[in-house]
Symmetry: D2
């Protein structure tokens, strides 16, 4: 009961663009029903950590709204809460948060409200299932000042969160932020020498936190690149907690796409949404069941309240309230769904081609290896197939971009009848 979790909701603005055009990374819809941040917040709840602060700043509106709606109904136990701390101006600080450490420093007066003994610093946009109590136990048993959760460097040599070298007691004796660019063979050499990849998850004793932020590194903005390496170099007792489960840090549209595809598999190595003991929480909804006219559905996940007509869905994620028209084929794609049922199509008599297209996917359309963001209006006879096999393409004026060979249709975009993407 004595650990407070600090969840950073923002991530990077650009890595998952255009999914972050109107929202922060933590708010990106995931696996039909969820938002990315639900995984980390659910980890906290399932680990009996019930004082959860979410710090947000970038495009925070939908994340804040989600966190308010999703977790007010969840039973968090006595004195438990999920409290959003949005970046704010104060008489002393007119600027935005300059990084995770700066944000933490400026919010310490709030975060110290309860007599917690450690702070658990968590990126809000990673996907994994971890029992943080085990991390806390290991931390306390080793009487560490700081513990870092880390995974084998082989599996994630490309983690941008730092490479750490351990001694035989599991203590971190080196923290290298920039090793990630090294070639793999050198990297594998590193592992031989006891290197692991930081997951960006830090458990820090309360008094150590205060000293690091205010005394030793009062100008540091970031934990991963400044405060933690500093603590290691000062000789603080920084311990590694090795994690060997599934972990995905969503460094690109491709990684996001792959993580969603993992959720589809019944016997998955990925993230498990069906575990009764570790449920994943999200906004509770009053959605009707999914109505299906005539569909062949293979290896797919179907969200709540969809309306599926005569269609084929294969290897895909179909989000809440998705409407799919007759003779549509969806393959290897993520359809994020929509926020409301559209009652009728507004028509202004002018550009009918666009305005008459309702939210969802029109008849005779084919969607293959694409991400369709929320509330998009895909017309009839559309082919979303990356026909020119482009790897990276900026077509934002036309309502989509291509990243890693995946077509990403923007939130609310209109794709006219007959388009070929």
């Amino acid at each position: 009961q004595s650990v407070a979790a600090i969840v950073f909701g923002d991530g990077s603005e650009s890595r998952l663009y255009p999914l972050t055009k109107r929202r922060s990374e933590g708010a990106i819809p995931m696996a039909a029903n969820y938002r990315l941040i639900d995984a980390v917040v659910s980890n906290c709840i399932n680990s009996n950590i019930n004082k959860i602060y979410a710090l947000t700043q970038f495009n925070s509106t939908s994340l804040n709204a989600h966190l308010s709606k999703a977790y007010t109904g969840v039973s968090l136990g006595k004195e438990g809460f999920v409290e959003v701390i949005a970046a704010y101006q104060s008489p002393d600080h007119q600027g935005w948060f300059q990084g995770s450490a700066d944000a933490m420093r400026r919010c310490m007066w709030v975060l110290e409200e309860y007599p917690v003994t450690e702070f658990l610093v968590l990126p809000g946009h990673h996907l994994y299932q971890m029992d943080y109590q085990k991390l806390i136990e290991a931390h306390r048993n080793s009487k560490a000042d700081i513990s870092i959760s880390a995974i084998s460097a082989v599996r994630n040599h490309s983690s941008g969160l730092g490479l750490i070298r351990l001694n035989s007691e599991g203590q971190v004796i080196e923290f290298n932020v920039n090793l990630e660019t090294k070639p793999i063979n050198e990297s594998s050499h590193n592992i031989a020498c006891g290197y692991s990849s930081s997951m960006g998850i830090y458990l820090i004793n309360r008094d150590i936190m205060a000293k690091l932020l205010n005394e030793y590194y009062p100008d540091a903005n970031d934990f991963g690149s400044e405060v933690i390496p500093g603590a290691v170099s000062m000789g603080m007792k920084v311990q590694a907690y090795l994690f060997d489960g599934y972990w995905e840090e969503m460094r690109s549209i491709e990684a996001f796409y792959t993580a969603n595809m993992e959720c589809i598999k019944t016997s998955t190595n990925g993230y498990n949404f069906y575990d009764r003991d570790s449920p994943v929480y999200t906004t509770p909804r009053y959605l009707p069941p999914t109505l299906i006219s005539d569909a062949v559905i293979t290896d797919s996940v179907i969200g709540h309240g969809c309306i599926l007509n005569r269609c084929k869905i294969k290897g895909s994620i179909v989000g809440t309230r998705t409407r799919i028209g007759d003779r549509v084929t969806v393959e290897d794609s993520i359809i994020m769904g929509s926020d409301t049922y559209q009652q009728y199509v507004q028509s202004n008599g002018g550009d009918r081609k666009c305005l008459d297209i309702p939210i969802g996917i029109g008849e005779d359309t084919l969607v293959r290896k694409a991400i369709i963001d929320k509330n998009a209006r895909i017309g009839s006879n559309v082919l979303i197939i990356n026909k020119d096999d482009v790897q990276e393409g900026e077509r934002e004026a036309n309502g989509y971009i291509i990243s890693g060979g995946i077509v990403v249709v923007l939130q609310g975009a209109v794709i006219p009848d007959g388009s070929i993407l």
Copy 2:
């Protein structure tokens, strides 16, 4: 804002047996996500009636639990509530409620808490969408003492709720409780004479209610057969409000089955669960999306959080958390789903045949024109096909009954591998 709704949750114990073995009619699962009473309570909310009392007595536990969970989160507006009044003993009355009028009489001290002007008496197990405000408006405009909602006698000549004859002003001049048994041709004669069927929905002025229950008919137990006919015979101004939408009173397993089948159709004459302006409320849930391996689904409704393996589903309702095994076919059936995900199957080494069967539908099983109640465990290689074409059959010891040719597997029943029903 000045009408209180009194919803009777119980209905009849026997009409929908065995679905009422452990619950009242209002609590029967409906259309994958709902309970029967949700339709009436949602009508109230969508009609801006926000003082809703639910009176229960028979097998009330799951209905009470449902009402508490489903409607505490719903925004009912200022001073709005859904309050369950369970039958209770008091120093003055040691007995149970003896009928709708008796229940109302005994609860008047609670029901009069707010300064409402009319009481709206509602059966809780009917399925229809009505804007009660229109009924209220008509009632007030006609300065009636009582208004009865009624439908054309042709459509529902068999309603057990009474036949009413109107004069040209729409006033009820005759209320016959027992006309229902008359042959159809006489019944159609009746319509020519202005007969309609009561829907059992009464809007009664507050002072009239008090007088009817305490002064005029202090010994009457029931509204439909005693109090209302009495009011008509006394010459009170009893007005009919004619309703011409879909209405189903669930008089038999067959009627319940048919009403569920109506929900499947995309262009339905039945009940519409997808109307944004009149949403149907129910327990909000944190269920994962439905996971489908390889299914051909036709004209069906799929609830939240199902796990469907290689199967064929046709013309069926599949309730929340239903697990369906490989090579299963479900046709023209209602699967009510389950309350939890079963983590593992308890085995006591003894009667493995039964205890090892997990909740859901096992491999290679065929279910046709059946109702599978909640948490049933259907084994592998089972045929639920009413093989002997029985119309009515009592096989409760074997976990099912047959009613109107429909096999109804009991809640929590175990159907061993290889059974043929």
Copy 3:
């Protein structure tokens, strides 16, 4: 996490009459803000028992409403709930609950929903602060079948819940239901012999519960007088858990009065409502602060949202929304407060004397050693002083009774101007 609490809300109909005229014992207002049952339910929550069933039958409406409102907002942790099970009819049982054991037996199908290991049976109308985890721990350490919480027989020789005799290992070797009437000197003899008083709190292993109710004592109605003594006599391992804190079982109006008076004392031996670690939960309310014109207040507890004019309040409990007029004196009394602010007084021109009296206490009135139940309307120049020093008096037609020398004004009673009680 594996214990379910079964709270019996009813108590006795007659012991605290007339406070139980319209409510069960558990629903009696207590200490200005609370209901009696809040103490026991809060004990559960503060002991991390989060599966709480409340069984009710007698005058249960206000208790059910209270439990629904009070505990839906409380964070009960994962899968936690306070579920009301009101007495109900079923095809098999048409009667009411015949006692605590009968109620438990009939609800076993609900109570066994979760895989709990023990049931904790609790009377809902006792006042005490206990950490049930300690009881559970002792129970498990001693590998008992049943544990009974008990207190020193000296302090409570009159407990009606049974006297128990222990051997040196704390095992119950004798359970006497009827010893209570024995004279004190014999009773103190008993203590020398190791007698203690049962508190009516039983922790029973799940499988033992099933056997006791269904196999060994299938006809027993009550735990305290039938099932538990039977278990002892059968030689089951029944262990005593001795409790030495404050405990009050509310056997009379006088005991209820005294328990309230205890709450007033700042350094109390009684029940502590101000303990941050063990908060007492109740309905959260949006009441304004208390407004005081000119009051001298001594040794009193003042509820939320009162309006106190020029008055003297001494040694009293003043409940929520109480309005006290000018020149009123309230001494050694319990004013339970009211459910609403009265906007205006309805007047029908007739019996003005009564109908014009607003809820609260009128001007120039003196209230001494009395209990004023909710929503009572005490006029001006009234003396409630038990002028004839009656010990027991039945004046219900006049709106009050006298019990143990304490005047109890009934809920909603009207005491006309100038009355002397």
Copy 4:
């Protein structure tokens, strides 16, 4: 149902300093139980406006937390919400909100989510009771583009929100932002000419809003000084809605103090917290009743859960959980109370003088005409009397400032034993 309210929670950083040192104006505690913003949000709810956006930026943490906790439990009706929009960075806008119009412009994509017809722009820190439906009705009847709520210029010649001149139809023909500094006699001349003071409350048609912000005044930052005067000068139909109730805009510590003092009076011209039809909403709490040992309380408001020992309280507001020691006198003061009950005083053996002082007001202390912010620790034998009769004084290092002759002790400040302020 078709109006969205936009509440600006921030106000000015400096006007009410130091009450805004750690919070925005809207979050300042008011009248023992409330926050300033509760008045405006409650106005919305009581006017049946249920789409409420609160825009915040300055010191927003406690305001955001308050809005989340206070209004999630309130029944806001179908599709109702109180949604906080905290200032955020986006790819297009890296800066903070530059003013009310800029904030509105940047959030239009959120605010346009529902098909509202008008936006109601509201300052969040004003104190008044208004039925906005009357404003909306007048607006629609006059077919105005914009309506401004205004009061008689005499009463509030100093309003900094602009002076408006009306023609005989109530249309605004002149909007002067800077007239406020004119001497009173000229101001009264103005009234003769039909001048009124703007209350900073604007009702603006949806399409007009879009045109004003994006087409006509794309660079304007503020409504009151730029957009509204511009609309008037363009000849738009800007109508005045005259309001003659109590209204306080909190332009100084003195005004805040006076408004609190108004709340104390039983027959008040100020703000009424006891109106059943227009309740003031705030965070629901589980606080115990107030415990009073021996107090003489005159013309005061006492919040929930206080512990008052032998003390005199006169003409004061005493906030939630306030603890007042023996022989304390509080006169004409505002004690804001505390956030928690302090269990014990931490002592580090060093500077005992400060650290041993618990939250609340110590023994033998006198507080006169002061504001004690939350969680302050006032020692024993302290005199807070503004002994040197200072009007304006900056003693922040000592834990207080003096403004308009009122001593304001800072949030969490420690005032050592024996201090004289």
